[in-house]
């Protein structure tokens, strides 16, 4: 299923620099008067709303607090169902089941791209265009992020999060291994990996149980070997995967395992277990997003000063990292769509975003608080301003993504050579494009 235009991904990634910049400028942070009056016209007394989300345990209380304030303002009752920790592998299944059961949530959080697309295509998600006009979301939220929640021209979601993934590392372990500064080139990264292994430290903590975590390594390697133009073409199937650049990326991918730069048996590891290992000192770094500062570093009560973040060096111009959009959708069958839209508006206000400590907010004027989240703020001001390529499990529908994960697995186990893997990838993508 590919309801989301494949070419839409290129535009999404290309506008990312603007997203990050706008996120720091405060432009459009003041809610338009028209929007405020529109919100005031909604009567929520005695009504109920249900939000379905996947907040981690550190973020959930903040979301609950925002919901309570919304309830106080509108006189309604908002409940929150939460399914943390499973990532995009499980959460959409439950959402889909609830929607089919006829009692779906009024508002739900979802990833953009191919994960959110089916809900728009099936018209389970409300076309929010009238509410965009009513609340002035176009001026409050960065347009490039909105593009990530727009499916075949239908604004079926309101983006709340634009996330870029970088390399979050343990400074103590880097120093112990003699890596005195973050690598500036891919060659330096390999050298750092060798030093870490020599010091008895596993460099990258990644797990392949659901496919998507270890995918972040491969897509980085592909960006390094293919460069931005070809990478984008590969993601939309307009260029063949059976090419030297893809073979080179798979070759490097295998090299990372053979040189023990990823944990032993990485394919069987659960990302939830292995990704925070850099905080525990079991691995040197993780390819992760700014949420890791609260969910891994601060949750472990570790000193933030002991950690750092840098962009994985691609040796290409422009320098890009992997990224994606997340946002809220409104149930087209909700009996309280006006109230649900008012909730979304309340949710994407700068004050709510600040209260939720959204370190990767898509809302103009909201962003990481340097006092509370110094590393996320550092990322947002630095590498976070670089453009991003669409993370591959959002670029591909799940069926193709699973086919791709199987090929990753075969390469790491030595079942498929990089050459064979490139051909197989082309078969997977070709069938998608043809369908």
């Amino acid at each position: 299923m590919s309801g989301f235009s494949r070419r839409g991904f290129i535009g999404l990634g290309a506008g990312a620099a603007t997203i990050a910049l706008a996120g720091c400028t405060g432009a459009g942070s003041a809610a338009p008067t028209a929007a405020s009056s529109a919100a005031a016209s909604v009567d929520g007394k005695g009504k109920t709303l249900r939000l379905f989300s996947y907040e981690d345990t550190t973020a959930l209380p903040f979301v609950q607090s925002v919901a309570a304030k919304f309830d106080a303002k509108y006189g309604c009752t908002t409940t929150i169902d939460n399914l943390p920790g499973s990532g995009a592998a499980v959460y959409p299944d439950k959402l889909r089941t609830e929607l089919l059961g006829g009692k779906g949530p009024d508002v739900w959080r979802i990833w953009g791209g191919s994960i959110g697309s089916p809900y728009a295509k099936a018209k389970q998600a409300l076309d929010l265009a009238p509410y965009y006009a009513k609340y002035g979301w176009d001026s409050k939220i960065n347009p490039s992020a909105i593009a990530g929640m727009t499916f075949n021209g239908v604004k079926a979601g309101v983006p709340t999060v634009v996330i870029g993934v970088g390399c979050w590392y343990n400074k103590t372990l880097f120093t112990k291994a003699g890596v005195m500064a973050p690598p500036k080139s891919y060659a330096e990264l390999e050298t750092a990996n060798d030093k870490l292994v020599a010091a008895g430290i596993t460099p990258l903590g990644t797990g392949g149980k659901f496919g998507w975590d270890i995918m972040r390594l491969f897509e980085y390697l592909l960006e390094h070997t293919a460069g931005p133009d070809l990478h984008d073409k590969l993601l939309v199937g307009s260029s063949s995967w059976d090419c030297p650049e893809v073979v080179a990326a798979f070759t490097l991918f295998k090299k990372w395992q053979d040189k023990k730069w990823v944990p032993e048996g990485a394919l069987g590891l659960d990302p939830a277990d292995i990704e925070p290992a850099y905080v525990q000192g079991k691995t040197a770094y993780a390819i992760s997003g700014p949420w890791t500062e609260s969910s891994a570093i601060q949750a472990a009560k570790a000193d933030v000063a002991g950690f750092g973040v840098f962009a994985l060096p691609t040796d290409k111009t422009p320098m890009r990292h992997s990224g994606w959009v997340e946002g809220l959708m409104v149930n087209a069958k909700s009996p309280n769509v006006d109230l649900a839209a008012a909730f979304v508006d309340f949710f994407v206000s700068v004050s709510s975003q600040a209260e939720m400590q959204n370190t990767s907010s898509a809302v103009n004027g909201a962003g990481a608080d340097p006092a509370k989240f110094p590393l996320s703020a550092e990322w947002a001001k630095g590498p976070g301003q670089d453009p991003f390529y669409t993370i591959q499990d959002q670029a591909f529908p799940k069926l193709q993504a699973d086919g791709y994960f199987a090929i990753q697995s075969e390469v790491l186990q030595g079942i498929s050579t990089p050459q064979v893997a490139a051909k197989k990838m082309q078969d997977v993508i070709k069938s998608w494009v043809q369908s």
Partner: protein, 306 residues
Amino acid sequence: MSTTPALTRSQTVRRVKWRGGLVAWAFALPALVFYVWFLVAPAFQSLVFSFTDWDGLSPTYSLVGLKNYVLMLTDPIVHTAVRNNLVWTGVTITVPVIQGLLLAVLLNGHVYGKSLIRTIFYTPAVLPLVSVGSIWGWLYNPQYGAINEVLRAIGLGGLAQPWLGQDATALAAVIVPAIWLRTGFPMLLYLAALQGIPKELYEAATVDGANRWKQFWNITMPGLVQAHLIVVALSLIDSFKVFDLIYVMTYGGPGSTTQVIGTYMYANVFQYYRAGYGMALAVSITIVAIIVSIPYVRSQTRRDDR
């Protein structure tokens, strides 16, 4: 004075039987309504959807005839899943049943701490499968898991493996906890059945000079025929339903190495938005499960009739 003609005896018997039948149906009706509403109707609905291209979310779909069933024949993941189901079924019936039988025979006599041992072996059967899967996932952790740690500690570090992270060992690694879980149930059934074998038979056999081996094959095993049927049939049905452990421990991976029909069906219906195809898989596995259950159901029905 009544004008109704007197009923013959056979008419009276028929009427009583008819009324008795009605009463039975009246009592069964509420349960039947639930059964039809919640099981038969959805099953029929799934059958209908298996002939469509429904994506599982959209309000519309088209009939595609047997296309989904034909597609199954050429889908390499279905082949893998069927093979895995067969391996799973074979191993998780054979090993737990044999282990359960041996344990039951051993525990049937005067054994010190018998209740404790029974409890130890049966407890895994009552644990939630998701918890079991998570626990075993940790045991199998290649770096910090207890299994590899023990192997390293006793000098067998060379045998330490990424058990769940490689095709060669992933399925076997998931089958091990399944065996652990499923040994207790046949043990209990066999223990109950062993109580029903008259002790006099063993005493007579002993007098006739039969050793324990001969007693086992000529008295115990024939005495457990009904238990064998129940244990094997229920284990067989259980095997076709495999889902939880695979889902929790490997998610069908690495790649699709440990996919079984249940997990692949789930992936198609809930993740790939190919509900029609997923339901064709569900219908197929259901038909197979029904066919293999028929001998068990018939035996139970016959016994009830007697």
